[in-house]
């Protein structure tokens, strides 16, 4: 990554055009402010289910749980559809419901999952995702692939050590590329608080990544 790129644009940038389309205003979004009609609901699910699943996948890192919580998220949205008043976008409103569900889901399952993945045990959907990352960078040498794995583990380790709200803010910003205002809406926090959470989260990740880097260099010697 060049410095120029870093200084001129936010990082990540891995969301595809389709991902972004699912966040922008769709047919349901156009009627924001007067609730969501029953007949629009299927369209709402169609437009937002992949994004909500992705957000939940980032938060709980368990495909089955993310699937169940995605379904629950839309069921809750359906129940509350009359109360949607369009202060935020439909997408942000759904993310807010998803975040609350993920918070309730708790962190114990996340830890269990990650130890499974990092333990190099059985192959599963999440393990496949790690493999997919490597497929996405086919030119990477085994050393580079290992480094990527370690970087990822450092980020998740740091994220796991964060308070739930800090972790949520971190993932919504850097995995989902939401703006600070969107995150504030989705988490019911002030923008300043969102920023403060990000500072702490980045500090924690910085420490972990630095620590892993030092360890890796020591092993190489």
């Amino acid at each position: 990554m060049t410095v120029e790129r870093t200084l001129t644009q936010p990082i990540a940038g891995v969301l595809t055009a389709r991902d972004r389309a699912s966040r922008s205003s769709g047919a349901v979004e156009a009627r924001a402010g007067i609730g969501i009609r029953e007949e629009e609901f299927e369209q709402l699910v169609r437009e937002h289910q992949q994004r909500i699943f992705r957000v939940l996948m980032g938060l709980v890192r368990d495909a089955d749980a993310a699937d169940t919580l995605t379904q629950e998220c839309f069921l809750r949205a359906y129940q509350k559809r009359a109360t949607f008043r369009g202060e935020a976008s439909v997408g942000t409103w759904l993310v807010r419901i998803a975040v609350n569900l993920a918070m309730d889901h708790g962190r114990s399952r996340r830890r269990a999952f990650w130890s499974r993945v990092m333990g190099g045990g059985t192959r599963n959907a999440e393990g496949d995702a790690v493999a997919m990352l490597e497929v996405a960078h086919p030119d990477a040498s085994p050393e580079r692939a290992l480094a990527a794995r370690q970087e990822l583990a450092a980020v998740w380790d740091a994220a796991d050590a964060l308070a739930p709200q800090q972790r949520t803010v971190f993932l919504l910003r850097f995995a989902e590329e939401m703006t600070l205002e969107e995150i504030a809406n989705a988490t019911d926090l002030e923008v300043g608080t969102v920023k403060a959470h990000l500072f702490r989260a980045v500090g924690a990740v910085r420490k972990r990544v630095g620590h892993r880097g030092t360890e890796a260099r020591r092993k190489e010697r």
């Binding site: 870093t6 891995v14 169609r46 289910q49 980045v202 990740v205």
Partner: protein, 164 residues
């Protein structure tokens, strides 16, 4: 700034793409900070890539998930219909109970129970009531206000007789 390396806040601003000029200038001239930023940026991007890769699913998955959601949605209104019917039934019962109380209430007020109809048919003359009260008062051995004093006096007499 050029003397001092990047703080967590500076790094976050850089990752957000909104660094202050001094921070940007420092990174441009400091190799160590540039390397640190690149390492951190790569790690964070990796998490984003992982999330996206892990959330990739075939079309059939989304279809099945959508069906499950819509089935769940169609199941919940049935429950809410039941709830609505139960609410209507409860309201009817409550109304019936309240109406019943209202019809019984006048009887309770008079304290006559089943004789309420007669009482209502023959209202008492207030003058007669006053006369009856005066006669009752006249028949008393002492006025009502002196009754406690009478009781005390009687008790004192009894005590004195007992001592004799």
């Amino acid at each position: 700034m050029s003397e001092q390396h990047l703080s967590d806040e500076n790094l976050t601003e850089l990752l957000l793409g909104t660094p202050e000029e001094a921070v940007a200038a420092h990174v441009a001239g400091c190799e160590a900070c540039r390397a640190e930023l690149a390492r951190l940026s790569a790690a964070v991007s990796r998490a984003s890539e992982w999330t996206r890769a892990a959330a990739e699913r075939p079309a059939g998955f989304w279809y099945t998930q959508r069906q499950a959601i819509l089935e769940g949605v169609s199941a919940r209104p049935q429950r809410s219909h039941l709830t609505a019917w139960a609410s209507v039934l409860a309201a009817l019962v409550l109304t019936a109970v309240l109406l019943g109380r209202v019809s019984v209430e006048p009887n309770l007020m008079t304290g006559n129970g089943g004789n309420s109809v007669d009482s209502a048919a023959a209202p008492v003359d207030p003058d007669d009531e006053l006369m009856a009260e005066i006669q009752a008062s006249v028949r008393r051995p002492v006025p009502r206000a002196f009754e406690p004093a009478l009781l005390v006096t009687q008790e004192l007499h009894r005590a004195a007789e007992a001592n004799q």
